[in-house]
Amino acid sequence: MGYFNKILIANRGEIARRIIRTCNRLGIQTVAVYSDADKDAPYVKEATESVNIGENQAKKSYLNIDKIIAAAKETNAEAIHPGYGFLSENPALVERCETENIVFIGPTAEVMKLMSSKLESRIQMSEAGIPVVPGSEKRLESVEQALTVADSLGFPLMLKASAGGGGIGMKLIQTEEELTKNFSSVKQQSQQFFGDDAVFLEKWISNPRHIEVQVAGDTHGNMVHLYERECSVQRRHQKVIEESPSPFLSEKQRGELVNAALTGAKHLGYTNVGTMEFIFDGEANFYFLEMNTRLQVEHPVTEEITGVDLVEWQLRIAANERLPLRQEEITKQGHAIECRVYAEDPVTYFPSPGTIETLKLVEDGARFEFGVVERTVVSPFYDPMIGKVIVHSEDRKTAIHKMKEVLAQMEISGIKTNISLLENIMSQKPFELGDYTTNFLQELADTIQIK
């Protein structure tokens, strides 16, 4: 029984395949869109039908709202699933869907707008009574204003672009001189990359952990959480490994964290699956960081421990159905770990596009979410992530052991990948002990020569 007859997937790679899989199970037809570079990609063949939306560069294809809408109209798709990245957090697509009478599988444009501004989301969450990182409550217009705020907060500070993301538009500030020096450049960079020059200051939290909570809300006012994900293993503010549950939280802390996430999501009247991201300091105080109003790359670890299909939930919510489970029916079992496989040098992180010659993924109980097969060309135009490996076991120790075995059996040739780095991380004592922060990869790079 499907919730829609046909949906269009405004994305590519592994997430397009992932969405197609759920749609196939539910009897929903799918429309894939593809750029010239992706014409032979596996997801294009796996969809019920496909539409070419133009040139290789994302802004001429996957980021072009007119082309996405035209493809949906041409194929009579009733709804659009945006995946992650690209247009997934762009309220202009949501508004356009409304005018064109197409269902957007995601939240309302209004909520999306609020959450896409880091400043606005701070204000909203403070209103809801959730702790936010101490910082400026308004956009900073001048260096003088920034210096006054810095004076009251104390150094070190983070100067941030309100519209920033992916580590762009962030600068660690230690002194007044550094603030004066960097103020206009961060403002400029924000305008350049995000078309909005609003910047603000936040207290710098050293050795933080990044833990996020998966939430889901329907259009009938029901809201649930699906536990947390620990995402502290990062390179250049990009996640590499995620796990659930977090090895860091006690049951009491977990309870406080998920309650804060629920309170925030309820305050917004949020409708879709979504993620409330939090930062933990060394004393285990947590603060709201930002909310992602879409399906996330790391959603499989939540699916593995809860048994829920989050794509199915997104479809149900968008079709105005009620959430299929009540809070007390959502339980977590065992431990799940996800490793992101990037087409890049494992040491320098330098991208490595090319043609995949061999791709050996030995099933062995692991879940593989890959956008590529043998002979797929990994093009230079999009994200370097080519896939994800997810394992689920009865406990964390067994999960790490299983992940090591799976990684050791994996074989990818033709391009460089970070598999050796992933194997290395799995063998590190701090990782094994669950004792790591967002500085972990930097510390590893400083001390160990990766083979």
């Binding site: 290789n56 230079p380 994200d383 370097p384």
Partner: protein
């Protein structure tokens, strides 16, 4: 006077400007010094600076702003001093 070619070490998208609103790094006819940035190549959401290898004058660009580029493809010709 010898000529030197600037080639891209990587495939991606070539940019002559640091951002859409700003001016090009260098114009044809401009004098450049070794190590000076003359363009950017975007590869998998990372940006790679393309630098002049010699002191000289930009003779011509072989590729347009925002065009796709392959590894080894010529970007510009410099008339070296």
């Amino acid at each position: 006077m010898s000529q030197s070619k600037v080639v891209s070490p990587i495939p991606g998208v070539f940019y002559r400007k640091p951002s859409p609103e700003e001016d090009v790094y260098v114009n044809e006819g401009d004098t450049v010094s070794a190590g000076q940035v003359i363009g950017l190549v975007e590869v998998m959401k990372s940006y790679f600076e393309i630098k002049a290898e010699d002191d000289g004058v930009i003779e011509s660009f072989a590729i347009e702003h925002e065009d796709s580029i392959d590894a080894g493809q010529e970007i510009a010709i410099i008339n070296a001093k």
